[in-house]
């Protein structure tokens, strides 16, 4: 209960909790809200260090840390910062964007199972990007401005179209119904078959590249692929934080939220748009990294013990999970480096099944 009663004399308090007040805004001090994100950040940094140490020449974690701080061996420094850091940074940014998008969608739909992957938004981005890869590229490489602008723009357009389609088909009495999930499954099926058709049309080199991309890979990551996600995150994180302010009211049903002064349609459309942009940006740089957007907000909810997915913490958890999944994919299978998306799918799918069993309150409409 964080309450601000401007008109009343008495200020609301939560028994046993220290209140934090600043002007019209107040909150309750919970140590977890600070500790867990800090801990996640530490796990993320450790993951980046370990990931940067992996490669043709293994560098110990301590040396990686020294190289990142600008000390130590000259060769180590250039290898770490120029060759290996982009991969980890891209992974962290992509994970953060997906975690944030998932938190926004789940908070909006008040549904732990809603996420850009289930709703077909990720598949839509995939269709957009693969179209450019297959029809615009020459021998597996999409070069120049087409690669830099074309793939992200196409991914974004594809994601928006998919989201619009699901929204138009499903929204009758709000996004909250479970119908939207089933419509998402249907739209996903159509888009997936379009994807496999695109893979068939492609030259075998393109197909290999597209399939690698489709499974969410950080192999080709460079500072250039990290940049778009970074900018999108920098712009949209504050937007999402501001817009998601009414999430507290959305905990109740729609009528109550409207009664409490939340402009439902405008808020929903703006937030959904934000989530789509985040997903598309992440998908454009690393391909659809499966289930991060679904699982990480739920992990964050359980760690922080909040009611709705906490946005910042979800983003941090997303980043940490993605980087560690990448570490796992590169180390666990010997010489074979599996794309990060295969790892997150293999880990995230059982987690989704677990959530399904746990939630049990899946209603029928």
């Amino acid at each position: 209960m964080t309450t601000d009663v401007r008109t009343g004399r008495r200020k609301a308090v939560v028994p046993g909790r220290t209140p934090l007040r600043a002007g019209p805004v107040s909150a309750v001090w919970r140590p977890r809200t600070l500790l867990i994100p800090l801990l996640t950040l530490a796990v993320l940094l450790l993951g980046v260090l370990v990931n940067c140490g992996r490669g043709d020449i293994d560098i110990p974690v301590g040396d990686v840390a020294r190289a990142l701080l600008g000390m130590g061996d000259e060769t180590n420094r250039s290898v770490v910062t120029e060759l290996r850091l982009p991969r980890s940074v891209t992974g962290a940014l992509v994970g953060a964007a997906l975690g944030l998008a998932g938190a926004v969608v789940q908070g909006l739909a008040r549904n732990p199972l809603a996420s850009p992957d289930v709703l077909g938004i990720t598949a839509g981005s995939g269709v957009g990007a693969v179209t450019v890869i297959v029809f615009g590229g020459a021998y597996g490489g999409v070069g120049g401005s087409l690669g830099d602008i074309g793939i992200p723009a196409a991914a974004m357009a594809g994601g928006l179209v998919a989201a619009l389609l699901v929204y138009l088909l499903a929204v009758r009495r709000g996004l909250t119904g479970f119908r939207v999930l089933l419509v998402g499954v249907g739209v996903n099926a159509i888009l997936t078959s379009v994807l496999s058709w695109l893979l068939l049309k492609a030259d075998i080199v393109d197909a290999g590249r597209a399939l690698l991309w489709l499974n969410g890979s950080l192999n080709g990551a460079s500072w250039d692929t990290a940049q778009p996600v970074l900018w999108v995150l920098v712009v949209l994180l504050p937007v999402a934080l501001l817009l998601s302010f009414p999430f507290g009211a959305l905990v109740f049903d729609e009528d109550t939220a409207r009664g409490l002064g939340v402009r439902m349609t405008a808020t929903r459309v703006a937030l959904l748009f934000t989530a789509v942009l985040l997903t598309a940006a992440a998908t454009a740089s690393a391909g659809p990294v499966a289930f991060v957007a679904l699982a990480c907000p739920q992990l964050a909810v359980r760690l922080l013990r909040t009611g709705t997915p906490p946005l910042l913490a979800s983003a941090l958890v997303g980043a940490a999970v993605t980087v560690w999944a990448d570490v796992l994919g590169r180390t666990a299978f010997g010489a074979v480096e599996l794309p990060v998306g295969i790892l997150t799918a293999a880990l995230g799918a059982p987690y989704l099944l677990y959530l399904l069993i746990r939630s049990g309150r899946a209603r029928t409409s």
Partner: protein, 335 residues
């Protein structure tokens, strides 16, 4: 004396058989290369080696037979699944069972190096059974039972899991990737008749099991308690149904890749004709499934001449909208 309803069901079944026969004819008569009916007729009976004969005998006839067998299998499997899960959205692809079978087939092809259908079809069964058990277990463990939403999401999760594992196996082997990307779309083209003949016993066994299963299924659709009271042994009935679904789906996937929505659409059309009786639903769904496969395949050959749209893509484009409409309109009630 047959009741009014039985007469209607018989008429519908006869009409569907007629539709299937028409679909077979169309599938043989139409294609990328326009042939006159005379050429087609000649090709069916004489192997003179002329272009028309070769097209009919070595291209159109095999794929027609494959589509027919796979369609019957998928249609019957879909009807059984909908009956056992009491769920209007059950379908081999939606529930991830095709993906499981696919994983089994790909694993045996690329990891163990099995190359004969008799070898890899067993791995297909294994994968299908694994996926079926997984999804069914999630449904059973969920409080309140398996609602359409739970099943669809469990299926989506299983699908994602098995597809990811499959992709991990083929990603770094160019030869495997080349085969995989054609197989994963779902196509009936290029399948020699001998291979279909080898798959036929499995489909027939599955159909026999399905037929044996339908009376029990009818009792089960009244609820487990009532079924038990009527003298149905729940465990064996479920097991036979599961075995039939595994045989039918596994064989169809091993033959022509994961093809979705045949069972879904087929069962709903059959339900429209036969009401709640699964003895009729399963039979009619098999007929409709085969007709649907053949028509979709023929249409796929015609819309993208001189190339073709694979039957798996055609069916997703036809079936997924039906699925969405079903979810929207009927609010996905339990059967």
């Amino acid at each position: 004396m047959a009741t009014e309803r039985t007469r209607k069901r018989r008429t519908a079944t006869a009409a569907l058989t007629g539709l299937l026969a028409l679909a077979v004819l169309l599938s043989i008569a139409l294609g990328a290369e326009p042939l006159t009916p005379g050429q087609v007729w000649h090709g069916l009976w004489h192997a003179s080696g002329s272009e028309g004969d070769v097209i009919v005998r070595s291209l159109r006839l095999p794929r027609t037979v494959t589509a027919l067998v796979a369609g019957v299998a998928l249609g019957a499997a879909g009807a059984l699944m909908q009956g056992h899960t009491r769920n209007p959205i059950a379908d081999p692809v939606v529930l991830g069972i095709s993906a499981g079978a696919g994983m089994g087939v790909v694993a045996s092809l690329f990891l163990i190096g099995v190359s004969s259908l008799y070898g890899y079809v067993w791995f297909g069964f294994l994968g299908a059974a694994l996926a079926g058990t997984l999804v069914y277990a999630v449904g059973a463990l969920t409080r309140g039972g398996a609602t359409p939403v739970t099943l669809a999401l469990a299926g989506a999760a299983a699908h994602a899991l098995f597809t990811a594992v499959t992709a991990g196996m083929v990603l770094f082997d160019r030869q495997a990737l080349e085969t995989y990307r054609f197989w994963t779309v779902g196509s009936v083209a290029g399948q020699p008749l001998e291979l279909t003949a080898k798959a036929l016993p499995f489909v027939l066994a599955g159909l026999v099991l399905a037929a044996l299963n339908t009376p029990g299924l009818n009792a089960l659709s009244l609820g487990e308690d009532v079924a038990r009271m009527l003298g149905v042994r729940i465990g064996p009935t479920r097991a036979v149904g599961m075995a039939a679904v595994t045989l039918l789906t596994g064989t169809a996937v091993a033959m022509c890749g994961p093809i979705g929505f045949v069972g879904l659409v087929g069962t709903h059309v059959a339900r429209y004709f036969s009401g709640p009786d699964y003895r009729w639903i399963v039979a009619q769904a098999a007929l409709i499934g085969a007709a649907l496969m053949l028509l979709a395949d023929t249409l796929g050959r015609l819309v993208a001449r001189p190339g073709e749209l694979q039957v798996g893509i055609m069916l997703a484009l036809i079936g997924a909208p039906v699925f969405i409409q079903l979810v929207r309109r009927r609010e996905a009630v339990r059967i």
